[in-house]
Amino acid sequence: MSFVKQSQMHARRQSRNTAVALCLVGLMILTVALSLVKLRSAGPTEGFDHVVRPALEDQGS
């Protein structure tokens, strides 16, 4: 394979890998944002078991 062809192939791979990386970062941000929204909308819960605790609701009010 010539150097020119190899260089073109590397350029294509780099551009594809960069695009995939950006998609993954975007997905990661979305997952974190979704988790935060879900946790906030779930009301008072304890992180380890995701069960509503009336005791915590009392403290919050």
Binding site: R16, L30, A33
Partner: protein, 312 residues
């Protein structure tokens, strides 16, 4: 670059090649109609959840597109319109396309379920199954009603958007489904009348070939009449409102007028004026659906106006 170099093992598909597998133009329609379904629904989602829902519905649509291209790569290679797609042109392998399609289908369904609710995820899974298995693999090459069946697959996104917001199917969601389902056949058959498609080479039974052009003209009129009833009827449901009613009446009158003109013409008259009416009908059909859904969107944003005792 020649096809030989594209097919050689040295060619690495670019991100754009994989992107093209997802049929981005179809995804635009999917996103728009799902967005309308989401906003028209009586319940509201948090903006982040709504964005995620649209994204995963779009990815599900893209996955269907990739699986469709995987299955139809032999057919695509035979038709001018599709022979430059990533698989027939050798830019992406069939194995890569099916892997991408299956992975994105599973991912989008699970993520939509987690982001919104499992009923919406179930509808998305059914849509992908319907489009890929029922339409693409089973019925497309067996029946001249393939456009009708394909139209059903494309009609699910607003329903999924609605279910994502409310958790259930309602009459309004079914009506939005019906609008796209009934709109697709006249839209596509009008295109088939004025373009010389090479479906014959690919052995796909198109209505214009199996039943003839006069029959296709009648089919366009029949579907347009049924569509008109649904389009105007929707004004008197939760989707409606004065904005929608006025839009639906004006657009439906124009659409019906052209459908009647198409049904009264024959090939000699159409060829004499270069299929002017068929072309005009096709162009307006694009605007028709866009305007109906925009009117639903506007109506849901401005809320009900107190007209006729709050009826509209």
């Amino acid at each position: 670059m020649t096809d030989v170099s594209l097919n050689s093992p040295e060619y690495d598909a670019t991100f754009g090649d994989y992107w093209a597998l997802l049929k981005p133009r179809v995804m635009t329609l999917v996103v728009f109609t799902a967005f309308v379904g989401l906003l028209a629904a009586p319940s509201t989602l948090h903006p982040v959840e709504a964005f995620a829902a649209l994204l995963f519905i779009a990815i599900g649509g893209g996955a269907s597109g990739a699986l469709n291209m995987w299955w139809e790569s032999d057919l695509d290679a035979m038709m001018k319109r599709t022979m430059k797609r990533p698989i027939p042109s050798g830019r992406v392998t069939r194995d890569a396309a099916v892997s991408l399609g299956v992975a994105l289908a599973g991912f989008s369904v699970v993520m939509l379920g987690l982001a919104t609710n499992w009923m919406a995820a179930l509808w998305l899974a059914f849509t992908i199954f319907f489009y890929v298995v029922i339409y693409t693999m089973w019925l497309k090459r067996r029946t001249p009603q393939n456009i009708v069946i394909g139209g059903a697959a494309g009609a699910f996104p607003p329903l999924i958007g609605w279910v994502a917001a409310t958790g259930a199917v309602s009459i309004e969601a079914v009506l939005m489904f019906a609008l796209i389902f009934l709109w697709t056949p006249p839209h596509f058959w009008a295109l088939a009348l004025f373009t010389r498609m090479d479906y014959d080479n690919a052995k796909v039974p198109m209505l214009t070939v199996t039943h003839g052009r006069p029959s296709t003209r009648k089919h366009i009129l029949i579907y347009t009449i049924i569509l008109s009833a649904f389009a105007i009827g929707a004004a008197f449901t939760g989707l409606g409102g004065i904005v929608y009613l006025i839009t639906a009446i004006i657009c439906t009158v124009i659409f019906m007028r052209d459908a009647i003109r198409i049904s009264r013409r024959n090939e000699d008259i159409a060829e004499a004026d270069g299929y002017a009416v068929e072309k005009s009908f096709f162009k307006f059909s694009l605007l028709y659906l866009a305007l109906l859904f925009t009117a639903i969107l506007v109506g849901s944003l401005i809320g009900p106006l107190e007209i006729f005792g709050g009826w509209l």
